[in-house]
């Protein structure tokens, strides 16, 4: 069974600071999804990365997929209180297998 490890588990920073969270796998990802779960809600997809070395930007969020497709990072610039939430990475299984494997998550708190 593939293991997805996310770090740090908890992160609390001041508004305006930058931060990076990580997702690492014990095996090669087919592709990778990042979700954000705000308090009291279900996770919502932020991005899917597919190609090794790929970089995607979503406003102040930058997602990077490792060259070897075994790791990914999420960098947030000038964090805002609205960024508070649980960030989850997920590895869609091989084509035809509908299971998703989720990491344990990084719980991010932005202090105003």
């Amino acid at each position: 069974t593939q293991l997805l490890e996310q770090s740090p588990q908890f992160l609390s920073i001041q508004e305006g600071e930058n931060l990076t969270v990580y997702c690492n796998s014990s095996s090669v990802f087919s592709s990778l999804q990042w979700y954000r779960q705000e308090p009291g809600e279900g996770p919502v997809l932020l991005v899917t990365v597919v190609t090794g070395g790929e970089v995607k930007k979503l406003k102040r969020l930058t997602f990077q997929f490792g060259d070897a497709r075994k790791d990914s990072s999420l960098h947030i610039t000038a964090a805002q209180p609205g960024d508070t939430g649980l960030y989850l990475c997920a590895d869609p299984a091989n084509f035809g297998n509908e299971k998703l494997t989720f990491g344990t998550g990084t719980r991010l708190t932005i202090i105003p």
């Binding site: 279900g42 996770p43 997809l45 597919v50 997920a90 869609p92 084509f95 509908e98 990491g103």
Partner: protein, 114 residues
């Protein structure tokens, strides 16, 4: 927008009770999923279904069953609730055909078994 609706936000049940958690999606998705979410353990797949009356076990099916009589509705059943089933339960749906399409989640049901 896709809407996945879970019938209860909070439930409190007693040990040994039969518990039904209901989930309805409005986007005609073939695939539906039940996860439980626990601190430090992330989301763990209980069961999923890729069509009406079809079901597959996920990572932690023990103590649970499911029902999919209609395409839009996927029910999770705890036959005899136990305290170790106290958790947040999340339902999700997606289109079939590979893993890159997103999961659409409901807002969860927080179940407490006393």
């Amino acid at each position: 927008d896709v809407k996945v609706t879970q019938s209860s936000r909070y439930l409190v049940k007693r040990t040994g009770e039969k518990v039904f958690l209901e989930c309805v999606q409005d986007m005609d998705h073939e695939n539906m999923f039940w996860y439980r979410q626990d601190p430090g353990l992330g989301l763990r797949l209980i069961y999923f279904s890729y069509d009406v009356k079809m079901k597959e076990k996920g990572d932690i099916p023990e103590g649970y069953s499911v029902s999919r009589e209609k395409k839009e509705r996927f029910s999770l059943i705890l036959e005899s609730a136990s305290t170790n089933q106290t958790s947040m339960y999340l339902c999700a749906s997606k289109v079939p055909g590979g893993g890159n399409s997103p999961l659409h989640f409901g807002n969860g049901t927080r179940l407490t078994v006393t």
